[in-house]
């Protein structure tokens, strides 16, 4: 609108109308000064016509803030500036000062700038008359800064309150999101926490404004969170987005140090660029960051304190702290609990503690404390503390001290624990050990130990069982209580121990009703409510179980109690093992003792130096010792020829069936048979010498020999006479005989010879079998002997019409033989051959040698030895059938004697027979030669 412009007297440089007078000049000057002041004032100054509400004047500040230059001001109407007001309302607003009701007015309004932005303003208005017009002067104070500061202050205060009211940092962030989101007209906000492992800010919760209408739940938020690197201190990002629902996003980083520990993202549909000044956000960022950091620290402190508290309280250890200057004890709640000092009771004094110490421990604790204070040794002591009248507990106190520079102790702080349970367990252990170590028998020891532990555990009955073949046998039982008596047998499956035994573990059920074995029949049958048991091992092998039972449930078993049961099981296992060892030893001893006692032979145990350690009753009898007298005696004292069976160092050489001479009681010498064997006992080498008295045997043998001798003599004596008489008769020494008489005499003679032969054979075979036949082995001229043998038997053979043909080659060596016996052998073979060969034929006697053996063969041309007889030909009383013989001529002992004799001469006899083609007997004998050490005349007691 174009208004004629009157000269503006308010502008500097203008002059008042009228003549120029000194007063006018002075007035001009005053005007100019006034105009300059107004123009250059810091505050915005506006002057406008009250009637037309047109702007008359705006000073530089106002012009600058509003954005108009001087020329444009004149064209401005007030409504252009005063946002949201109509002229009518403006007039209404200014009426009080226009009508003089008041001279000044203060109002708050919003001014609009030329560029459309606005700012809050505090207006101080007054009215005046100027140049005949009513004008209003206004001083305008831009409230933007103030408002911001107000906002910041308010917001800051609220944020502080939020921080104080939230305990967790996360809750604080949530509160911030709500407050700032609402404040800045956001529809949503998102919190991010930095994850150190991924080094990213990860979403940790969001806020949506339910009041902002629209569908906030489905509002799409940008997927990516802020990058931690992009966030820097003091550089809060405000982003405007064109298009889409979200118009503005801004992010407040919460920095701890140089890193963003968290970030708050805000999303708004509105354009917040105007309302959100970076300085505001920066200030908020600083405050929030500070508060957040503090919160995080508090949380960490709380967490560690909680952990500490948990540890301290969980360990059931009490903490205490003594300040020497104040004489005050700090006792943690747990400590008070242990020492039974009520929470509300004052901390006791040092002396009070002293009076509560057990009299026997006073000195010890005092000494320890003194050492701690003076020598700075850690305080570590166990003592008894009186909880109440007559009731003591064992406590373990440990502490360290703090000293000042002068070396005075300031504080001692540490822990205290109730160790009564452990002490009690220790005590019971000691008692059980004492039981075990006592020198009574295993059964007593074990029962006593069972009693003690049973009492300690507060249970009724303790059982030690032996389990074998599915049977549970009670071996030992505590003396008190009920339960099966020792010796009771029941199936293992019927006992609760069956679990323990098969599983090889310790089972503790303080309340069977609430245990895995609640359904076990033994519980009802045995009325068992509490049980603790474990497997028993004896000598490394599963033996049975150790168990404790009671008809009432009890408190859970402590570690100390379980340890004690395990230890007891081990001790009992060892004890049973020892008892077994002893029992075995005793049994072995008893058996050995009975063997030794009943042995008829003397048995001596001799050490490696030839000293007698032990002698059985028979030995004592044999050698005339009193019991126990044998020990230490030298074996050589009873076996003088001991050196023959000892090493040079005196150790015996094991021998078997050795005949020797022993010296018995009264220095009587007698024949004995020795058996010496070596044994090892306990790492030592010992010898068992068994001595059989051969006196009786020898006597018996002698007696038998004598019997045989006597019998043979008795048999032979009459034969001598008969034979002699017949000989004399036959020889006609005493006179001629008639032919008849002669024939009868010959008959008698023949039979007499036969009888004699029979007697001789019987005696011979007896001797041969008894090993009493003596051979006189010597080199024998075989050729000569055979010639003699043939000669001696020629007459006999002639009776059968048989001739002997002897063939001994040249260089026939001598053989080792008994000449007489060899003659006997040859006589036997030759006579047999003569008997059985075909009458009129020849019997060959062939001798040859091969290497070290000489072979003598006697070959007949008879029918041969029948098949059935061949196996038995050398047996006693076996005779061949011979139709040629007149009656039986032999005793049947010939070949058996022959064989034995040949054997005694270290030779062999064999035969070869063909039916119808005769038989050849061959005797093989050793040739007398270089390796034959037998001397002529040597007497060898030959053994069959």
């Amino acid at each position: 609108m174009s208004v004629p412009r009157a000269p503006n007297p308010l502008l500097p440089g203008s002059s008042l109308p009228g003549p120029e007078t000194p007063q006018r000049r002075r007035a001009d000057l005053e005007n100019n000064l006034f105009a300059t002041i107004v123009e250059e004032a810091f505050s915005e100054i506006l002057v406008f016509d009250a009637r037309t509400l047109t702007l008359l004047f705006a000073n530089r500040s106002a012009r600058g803030n509003l954005g108009y230059d001087a020329g444009e001001i004149a064209a401005l109407r007030l409504v252009d500036i005063k946002a949201g007001y109509t002229e009518a309302r403006l007039r209404e607003a200014y009426r009080p000062i226009l009508e003089g009701e008041t001279s000044r007015m203060v109002a708050h309004t919003i001014h609009r700038r030329k560029d459309g932005t606005s700012y809050p303003a505090e207006i101080h208005s007054c009215a005046s008359i100027f140049d005949g017009r009513a004008v209003i002067f206004q001083i305008v104070l831009d409230q933007t800064e103030i408002k911001h500061r107000q906002l910041l202050a308010e917001l800051g205060a609220m944020i502080e309150r939020d921080a104080a009211e939230t305990s967790a940092s996360a809750a604080f962030l949530a509160a911030l999101m709500t407050r700032l989101g609402r404040q800045f007209r956001c529809c949503a906000a998102r919190a991010h926490l930095w994850n150190p492992q991924s080094n990213r800010l990860e979403p940790a919760g969001n806020w949506r404004d339910e009041d902002s209408g629209a569908d906030t739940d489905t509002l799409p938020l940008p997927a990516e969170g802020p990058s931690p690197r992009a966030l820097q201190r003091g550089k809060t990002a405000i982003q405007r987005h064109a298009g889409g629902e979200i118009a503005t996003t801004f992010t407040i980083p919460l920095m701890i140090g140089e890193t963003a520990a968290a970030a708050l993202e805000f999303f708004s549909r509105h354009d917040l660029a105007q309302a959100l000044r970076p300085e505001l956000l920066q200030a908020l960022e600083e405050q929030i960051g500070r508060l957040y950091e503090r919160k995080c620290n508090e949380e960490r402190v709380n967490e560690s304190r909680e952990r500490f508290d948990a540890a301290v309280n969980g360990a059931a250890v009490g903490l205490w702290d003594y300040h020497y200057k104040t004489g005050q004890f700090y006792l943690s709640p747990r400590c008070r609990e242990i020492l039974a000092i009520p929470d509300d009771a004052p901390s006791p004094s040092w002396e009070a503690f002293g009076t509560r110490t057990h009299p026997k421990d006073v000195r010890r604790t005092a000494v320890a404390m003194k050492a701690h204070m003076l020598k700075r040794t850690p305080y570590d002591i166990e003592y008894r503390y009186r909880l109440s009248e007559g009731r003591y507990i064992w406590v373990h106190a440990r502490a360290r001290g703090v000293w000042d520079e002068a070396g005075n102790i300031i504080r001692t702080a540490g822990t205290i624990e109730n160790i009564s349970a452990e002490k009690e367990a220790e005590q019971v252990q000691r008692e059980v050990l004492a039981c075990i170590a006592a020198s009574s028998d295993a059964a007593t020891k074990i029962s006593q130990a069972l009693d003690k532990v049973c009492r300690y555990l507060g249970l009724d009955t303790a059982l030690v069982s032996h389990v074998a073949d599915g049977d549970f046998t009670v071996r030992y039982r505590s003396t008190g209580g009920g339960g099966p008596a020792p010796g009771t047998v029941m199936p293992l499956a019927d006992t609760i121990c069956s679990d323990v035994y098969s599983g090889d573990v310790l089972q503790a059920f303080p309340d069977l009703a609430h245990s895995p074995v609640a359904g076990h029949p033994a519980r009802a049958r045995g009325r068992i409510a509490a049980y603790i048991g474990t497997t028993l091992f004896v000598r490394g092998v599963r033996f049975g179980t150790l168990s404790f039972i009671a008809p009432r449930a009890r408190a859970p078993f402590s570690e100390a109690e379980i340890s004690l049961v395990r230890l007891l099981a081990r001790w009992i296992g060892e004890e049973i093992g020892r008892a077994f060892d002893v029992a075995e030893l005793i049994e072995n001893d008893a058996r050995t003792a009975s063997k030794l006692a009943s042995a008829a032979d003397a048995l001596l145990t001799v050490d490696s130096r030839g000293r007698i350690e032990d002698a059985n009753p028979a030995a004592a009898e044999m050698f005339g010792w009193a019991p126990e007298q044998s020990r230490g005696k030298a074996l050589a004292g009873v076996l003088p020829a001991m050196h023959a069976f000892s090493h040079p160092d005196g150790r015996l050489i094991p021998v078997r069936l050795r005949q020797d001479i022993a010296i018995g009681r009264d220095y009587r010498r007698f024949s004995v048979l020795l058996n010496i064997t070596e044994i090892h006992v306990g790492g030592r080498s010992l010898f068992t010498v068994a001595i059989s008295d051969l006196t009786e045997a020898k006597k018996a043998e002698v007696a038998k020999g004598e019997f045989i001798s006597i019998v043979s003599h008795e048999l032979r004596t009459p034969l001598t006479s008969i034979r002699g008489a017949l000989s004399l008769l036959a020889s006609e020494t005493t006179g001629a005989l008639t032919a008849e008489a002669a024939r009868l005499t010959r008959i008698a003679q023949r039979n007499c010879e036969r009888l004699l032969r029979l007697v001789n054979d019987i005696l011979a075979i007896d001797k041969l079998e008894a090993g009493r036949f003596e051979m006189s082995l010597q080199p024998v001229d075989l050729a000569a002997l055979l010639a003699d043998a043939v000669a001696a038997n020629t007459l006999y053979a002639a009776k059968y019409g048989v001739r002997f043909r002897l063939a001994t080659g040249p260089g026939l060596p001598a053989v080792i033989a008994d000449p007489e016996r060899l003659m006997q052998v040859m006589a036997n073979l030759l006579s047999n051959a003569a008997k059985f060969t075909r009458p009129g034929t020849e019997v060959d006697v062939i001798a040859r040698h091969a290497g070290r053996t000489a072979h003598i063969s006697v070959r007949d041309r008879g029918p041969g030895i029948p098949e059935g007889l061949r196996e038995r030909i050398f047996d006693k009383f076996v005779q061949g059938e011979n139709v040629n013989t007149r009656g039986h001529e032999g005793s049947g002992l010939g070949l058996s004697i022959t064989r034995k004799m040949v054997a005694l001469m270290n030779g062999e006899i064999s035969f070869h027979s063909e039916a119808g083609n005769g038989t050849t007997f061959t005797v093989s004998l050793p040739v007398a030669g270089i390796d034959r050490t037998a001397n002529p005349g040597d007497l060898h007691e030959a053994r069959p």
Binding site: S709, I710, S712, H713, R716, T717, P718, L719, T720, S721, R723, G724, A725, S727, L728, S731, T733, T734, L756, K767, R772, F773, E774, M775, S776, E820, L939
Partner: protein
């Protein structure tokens, strides 16, 4: 001093054997023989017989041959008279035993009555010759 055997004394507890021996020694053997039924009074009879050689039965009840031999050796008049044992026990050891006792020979029973005198003579001759005492089968 070597001289022919002429007088023989035979001590035995068996009368039949003594009879047989008498015929064998005297008739078949042409020796003077004193047959002494012992062992009782044997020593005196031996002294009276004063033989060149004594044949001594071993198995006699009461005083056996060896014991009598010892008595003979102690007797001043008989000590030098050689003795032959007559015995059924003729195992080498036994023979050695008898020899060790002081006999000069052993004749086994039952003896061959026909050769008895010769056997005794042979032993006598061998003894006189100083050779080893022999046993005769």
């Amino acid at each position: 001093m070597k001289r022919a055997l002429s007088h023989v004394a035979y001590v035995d507890d068996d009368l039949d054997i003594l009879d047989i021996a008498e015929i064998g020694l005297k008739t078949a053997g042409s020796l003077n023989a004193a047959l002494i039924h012992g062992p009782a009074m044997a020593l005196e009879q031996l002294v009276r017989a004063a033989p060149d050689i004594i044949l001594l039965d071993v198995m006699m009840p009461g005083t056996d041959g060896p014991t009598l031999l010892q008595a003979i050796h102690r007797h001043p008049l008989l000590a030098k008279t050689p003795v032959i044992f007559m015995t059924a026990r003729v195992q080498p050891r036994e023979v050695a035993h008898y020899m060790a006792l002081g006999a000069i020979g052993v004749i086994s029973k039952p003896f061959d009555v026909m050769t008895l005198a010769d056997d005794v003579r042979r032993i006598w001759d061998d003894w006189n010759a100083g050779s080893q005492p022999q046993e005769q089968p």
